[in-house]
Structure formats: structure tokens, C-alpha cells
Symmetry: C2
Subunit: 448 residues, 2 copies
């Protein structure tokens, strides 16, 4: 499957005067240009071949994409539409030869969207046998700039009219299409009549009953036309970085801070792995201060442990925003987290032991390390089951909470107490999991 991306228009409202600013496709949004984002979103759905229609300041756009091509990891054919000012329908038609009569996906370079939308659109297209095109639509209530949106009137889920000026509408066009050759037939007909806009051709498809719609069900998309919509998209995308498996501390404290940090560092050349390592080094620094034992150092150590916990969220956030998630990255992160956990506790133990000379802190500390491990181990062994039941159930003593407890315990100068608390909470939760997983597995079996 190929995707055609329209990147020929001028996008006047976003640029600040010709020459000075970037062409619209190259405008950055959270670490990636709009065009990179469109390509990588489609790549998430398994699309590796692209036809890029350029027009306005095409040389700059082509040069930019060629420089990025290796990192993007996809094949890109460029098609130039010198008459881009006439309308975007003409840009689609120009892509025809590059497509070799295959069906294709049509995207706008200035639309950002949740990649799962395209995934589901393609799944629907695979189920469809006929030659109808499919257009993604959303509820008007979800649209940032409704005035500027392309409206659609649906009757019994069938499209009846499309256009910016449609008065009675109950849906809007998200700018994500699945197209068959019917699209080109419609474009030729309309352009022959001097109508150069894509929505003219779509109206033609509607009239000949060759268009279906796919409701994206409230998922995120945004047409970036103004500075306002750019800011809106940024906020929505940062907000979406929360994970359903986030623990309490993560949800109410760490994410709020890490998102702000991520918004700043995502534009830099820091890779997620580098951020993982920074977080690990902060944990080592925390352990070193704990090791020194005195109260004033405990406070610094506690702050560093919590800071490391926050930064530990940023690697995943940057990876998700820049399409850099890899299984390997998650793997290395989890390994370093386990070592960091153990070394922080080791720092606490030695620091305490040197001041008070107690052996019991070692035993309690070892059980705190063991319990922390076992939390992660039970998770890894039953990832599917635990992820579905969520982190909220049971004793909420995942990593975010454990490092938070360590900080608070250090502030209160209660090293032995915090280690005891960790040892009890984590190991109790492991026992609870062993019993609760039995119920879950038995339930699953009974479903057969």
C-alpha cells in the first residue's frame, strides 16, 4: 500500500512572511516537522512507500526530505505540481502515474493524527471488497477550528454533501482517505469542469455513491492551519503521553513534570536511550549521597531519586513523540531501572550501617531489593494479564511509588523505616499477585 501526501500548498496563516520562515510542511511540532510526522504516522500502519506531491517552495521541501530519508526509512517518490495554486485536487491527480493503479491512502501533510486511526481505516478497507473510497470523519464537537473545517452531511451514516460551506452538517472531514481509482475518475471529471479542489471530487464521489465514511470515534487529529491550532495540537499530544498503567505518583506528580521537560527536550538531539542513561546516572548520584549517610546528604539523595524517577518518564515520552519506540529501548530501560533500584537501596543500607553499625538494616534492605525486583518480575512474567487489570489494583507500590517513598523517608531521616515499609509493601503485593493471578487465569479458562 502506498500513501500520497499533499505538501504542495502555501499555508499562509502559519508562515510569517515569505523567505523568512519555513514552508508549512517543515514547520516543527514536538521534535518533528509536520511532514515527517505524517510520514512516520503512516509508517506505523505498515506503509513504506510514499508519493509526495510538492509545489510551493518545492526545492526546499525535496531537499529537506532527501536529507531525512535514511532516518525515515521509507521510499519516497516526489511529484511536482507547478499549478499548486489552482487547488489540492489537482495535486492528487498529479500523483496518478506514480501509483501504478494501486489503491492508496491519501493524507494532508498539515494534518496530525493518532496513528491508530489509519490502522483501523486500513483494516476496514481490507474488509471492503468493492471500489468505494473511504473518508475518515469526526464529530464536529471535537474540532479545534470548526469554521475552517470541511463539513459533511451524513444521513444514516451515508454522506450526502461535503464542503466548507455546507449548512446542515453533522460531521467533519479529517483529511485521511482510502482511495480507489474512482478518486481519479472523479478528479478528472471535476477538473475538466474547472473545479480544482479535492472536496469537489469528493462531492462527485458522493453523488455517484462511491464514498463511505469511517468514524474515528473521538480519537485525536488536528488540521494545523494557524499558530493556535499548532499550540492546541501540542497540548493534546503531550496530554496523550499518560499511560493507563501509570501509578498514582506517576499520574499526579511525575507525568505533570516530565511532560513539561519532554516538551523542551524533544526539539534537541537527545535520543531516548541517552535520556534513559541520564536517569540512571541520577539514580547512581542519589545512591552516592545516601551512601554518605548524614541527614543533609539524605535530603539531596532523596531529591535525586525522585528526579531520576521523573526523568525516567521522559525517555518513553520522547520516544513516543518522535516515533522512536523500540522493544530494545524498553528492554534496556527496564534493566537499568532494576539496577538503579538496587543500587539506591544499597546506598541507603551502607549509609545507615556506617552510622549505626546495625546488621538488621542489611536484612531488611535485602528484602526491600527482593520485593522491588519481584514487583517487576511478576509484571514481566504476566505482562498481558497485569497490563489489562491495570496498575491501580492491589498495593500501589510500583517504581514511581517506591522512589517517592524513598524520597519522603530520606526527608524524614527514617532510612530503616522506609526500607521496612518497602520490604513489607512490595513482598505483600507479590503474594497478593500470586493469588489474584490464579483467579484471573481460572476466569479466563472458564470462558472457553
Amino acid at each position: 500500500m502506498k500513501a500520497v501526501i499533499l505538501a504542495a500548498g502555501k499555508g499562509e496563516r502559519l508562515s510569517q512572511g515569505e523567505g523568512k520562515s519555513k514552508p508549512k510542511p517543515l514547520i516543527p511540532l514536538l521534535g518533528l516537522s509536520l511532514l515527517e510526522r505524517a510520514i512516520l504516522s503512516a509508517k506505523e500502519s505498515g506503509i513504506y512507500d510514499f508519493v509526495l506531491v510538492v509545489g510551493y517552495r518545492s526545492e526546499e521541501v525535496v531537499k529537506y526530505v532527501e536529507a531525512k530519508q535514511k532516518r525515515l526509512g521509507v521510499n519516497i517518490d516526489f511529484v511536482e505540481n507547478e499549478e499548486w495554486e489552482k487547488g489540492n485536487g489537482l495535486s492528487v491527480l498529479k500523483a496518478r502515474d506514480a501509483l501504478k493503479e494501486e489503491n492508496f491512502v491519501l493524507l494532508m501533510c498539515d494534518h496530525v493524527f493518532d496513528s491508530s486511526i489509519l490502522n483501523d481505516l486500513l483494516a476496514k478497507a481490507r474488509r471492503n471488497k468493492g471500489d468505494k473510497c473511504i473518508l475518515c470523519v469526526d464529530n464536529p464537537e471535537n474540532v479545534f477550528d470548526l469554521e475552517d473545517a470541511t463539513k459533511i452531511l451524513l444521513e444514516k451514516n451515508k454522506p450526502k454533501a461535503i464542503g466548507k460551506g455546507v449548512e446542515n452538517y453533522n460531521a467533519v472531514d479529517c483529511g485521511i482517505f482510502y482511495c480507489t481509482s474512482e478518486m481519479f475518475d472523479a478528479l478528472e471529471k471535476e477538473i475538466g469542469e474547472g473545479k480544482y479542489e479535492l472536496s469537489d471530487a469528493v462531492q462527485c464521489l458522493i453523488d455517484s455513491d462511491k464514498l463511505e465514511v469511517f468514524d474515528i470515534g473521538g480519537r485525536f487529529w488536528c488540521d494545523i492551519d494557524t499558530h493556535g491550532s499548532l499550540e492546541y495540537a501540542k497540548l493534546r499530544m503531550l496530554k496523550s503521553l499518560e499511560k493507563p498503567t501509570d501509578g498514582i505518583i506517576s499520574k499526579y506528580i511525575n507525568r505533570k513534570v516530565s511532560r513539561r521537560i519532554t516538551a523542551r527536550i524533544v526539539n534537541r538531539n537527545l535520543t531516548p536511550t541517552q535520556i534513559t542513561i541520564i536517569s540512571f546516572l541520577m539514580a547512581l548520584a542519589s545512591a552516592t549521597f545516601f551512601f554518605l549517610g548524614e541527614y543533609k546528604y539524605l535530603i539531596i539523595g532523596g531529591l535525586l531519586a525522585q528526579a531520576s524517577s521523573i526523568i525516567d518518564g521522559c525517555d518513553g515520552e520522547v520516544a513516543r513523540l518522535k516515533f522512536l519506540m523500540t522493544d530494545y529501548g524498553a528492554f534496556v530501560d527496564s534493566i537499568l531501572d532494576r539496577y538503579a533500584d538496587a543500587i539506591i537501596i544499597l546506598g541507603l543500607i551502607i549509609g545507615y550501617c556506617m552510622l549505626h553499625g546495625s546488621i538488621s538494616v542489611w536484612i531488611i534492605g535485602l528484602f526491600a531489593v527482593l520485593g522491588s525486583f519481584m514487583m517487576s518480575y511478576t509484571n514481566a512474567r504476566y505482562e498481558g494479564v497485569f497490563e489489562k487489570t491495570g496498575g491501580g489494583r492491589g498495593i500501589p507500590v510500583r517504581r514511581d511509588m517506591r522512589l517517592f517513598i524513598i524520597m519522603i523517608g530520606a526527608f524524614l531521616n527514617q532510612v530503616l523505616g522506609l526500607l521496612l515499609l518497602l520490604a513489607i509493601l512490595t513482598n505483600t503485593e507479590v503474594v497478593r499477585r500470586v493469588f489474584s493471578i490464579k483467579r484471573i487465569i481460572t476466569k479466563k479458562k472458564n470462558k472457553f
Copy 2:
């Protein structure tokens, strides 16, 4: 899919005089009767409905199965063949009404087999669209009692003749069939002519080109007709308990002992979970002796650690032999193993610390615990990848080796040394894995 199991014959050569011994289907083999084994092997392939044809001492067989039915977890219809002495073809025909014209699997209660054979036979049957029956065949070289086997002549993989007396043969009948209604047509025809053996009907299927064969590719099966074949099957099945992921110590020492223990305890009512708990308690006992610190106790602790490691293999072996494997059982086993590992090392640390008063043993011991844990954690996080690449690569310091090192170290009274060795080997192996997994993942990606 239903399975018909023939359990009507007498099996004279196995019984030791009527009245004294059990009917053949009830003869035990490694903790299960032959009949239970046939039913549970088929259940592994998703068959939950059975037609059991009984004849000789039918009352005893029915009573036995009814008592076991709940544990078996399948539906069983009984069909009595009072004329069982005439031949086993008649027994199959008697099952006809109970099958309601469905295709079915036909098994002999006195044949044991690797359950994957049936799985693959059913997969082949699903691919076949026609009405041909399929018979599992094996290379004559693999057969325990070739004289007694039903021979088959294949030409270009097509069966030409079947029977005990076939002179030119190049395959043998494994007694595992996939049958369509053609089987009953053939049986009726042959029985009408006074030929009551199943192989008569199979010859009839061959003559009308309604039989295909499926080569089981050297996998284990055995026709239990004599005490000799019973012993042979027992040895082969115990031998098969080795796992490709077994470590060096496990392969060359632990399995050899654990198999012998399993062969004895499999006939008792010990559940795999109970064996898991016994192994865990032995580890706790080992830790207690280590805790006492003196050399004479170290030796006992070392022996107990190694014994616990051996018994840790028996739970899985018993589970596999008795079809009691569950994900939950494996989960609980892995949790208790991790606690056992940590507690044994804790025992070593405290014992050493009390005698020598050193703090360094704590730090080294904690890294030994950490490394041991990380070995299992990396495994759990990348189960698929590690299982495929096997346990043999890298530093062989899996659990079997770790407990062996602990025993040897205890014998040599070198607690600090063994902990240091464990800490270095395990953590080095974890680092190696982190780098090697990157190569494996990258290779996988390049295959796309």
C-alpha cells in the same frame, strides 16, 4: 471434533491371568493408565468429546472412567461391543451412531504417542478438503516390536498394501487415524464379507484411493502389547523430559537424578505444586544451615541447595507426564525460585558475616542476588528470543549452575569467593545479553 478410542480388546500378553490383573486400558504407565493417557493426549489437541468402545471386562473399564471423568474434563460416550473377540474393525463400526456423521479421530487405547503428532494430523486434515482418511505412519526402523507391527507398503508416498503379513514394506501403521465417512463404508463392506479387522477396512480404503498417510517424522509413539514395550515406552517418555533450554548442570547431572525420582513419585498423589513447595522448603533448609556458618553446616547446606535444585526439575516432569502443566504452576514455581535464590544467598551472607564480621560480604552478596535475579528477569522479558537461542550460549550461569556453584563453594568453605564468582558471572552475562539481544532484534527487523 470427536475421537473414537478402541478399548475393547483383551491384551493377553500384558495381563497375567484373568481376574488378578487389570484390564489392559487400565494398566498404569508413569502415573496414568493407558486409557487416561490416550484421552489426555487427544485433549492436548483440543478434542473434548470422546466415544469409548469397550468390550472385554467392560464394566470395570466404564466404572473406572466414570470415576475419573471430572479430573479428565472431557465428555465421554460409551459404546459396548459385545462381539469384541471378532476383531477391532467391528468396534469402530459400533461407534458410528454416536458420531452423528462427523469426521473423527480414531485412536487405540494401548498406543501412547507424542501429542504433537495428533496436532499436526489435525492441521493436515483441516487443509484437506476431500473425503480421504489419513493414517499416521512411521519408519520401520523406529518401531520397538517390528514383528508385531502392522506394515504398510508406500509407493511415492501413496499406500499400496497394509497388514501384519505384508512382505515388502517401508512404513508401519502408528494406530492414529483421521477418518471420514469412507471409513464406515469400507468397514461395512469388509465386515459383510466376514473380515472383522480394522486393517481389512484400511486395505479397502487403499484400494479405492481413499487413504492418505501422514509421516510422523520420527516422533515418539509405541504400541503397548508386552511388558517389554511398556518398559521401553517408560524409558522413552522419561528421556523426553529433557528440555532444550536445560543448562549444563541440569542436562548432565540434575535431569539424570530428577528423572529417576520422577519415575518413582509420578505414581503417587503428589501434585506438581506440592513438589514445587518441597523444593522451596529444601532451599529454606539449605539457607538455615548456611546461616549457622560453621563448615560442617555449610556442607549440609550445600547438599540441600543442590538437592533443592534437582527436585525443582521434578515438578515440571511430573506435570508433563500427567498432563498437569499450567501457566499458573510455572508462574508460582518461578516466583518461589527467585525467593529461594535470594534466601539461600542471604543465609550465606549472614553465616559468613557472623563468623568474620565483614561488611564487604553484604555488598558482594547483594550483587550476587541482583545478578541472579537479572538472569531470570532478562529471560522473562525476552522469553521468546532467549528460548530460541537456547541457554547454551553466553555464560552458562542459569539457576542449575548457580546452585551448583553454591554447593561447590560451600564444600570448599569459600563463601566470599562463591558469592563474588556469582556476582561477577551473572552480572557479566546480563550485560552480554543486553548487547546480544540488540543484534538479535536488529537481525529480526532486517528480515522484513
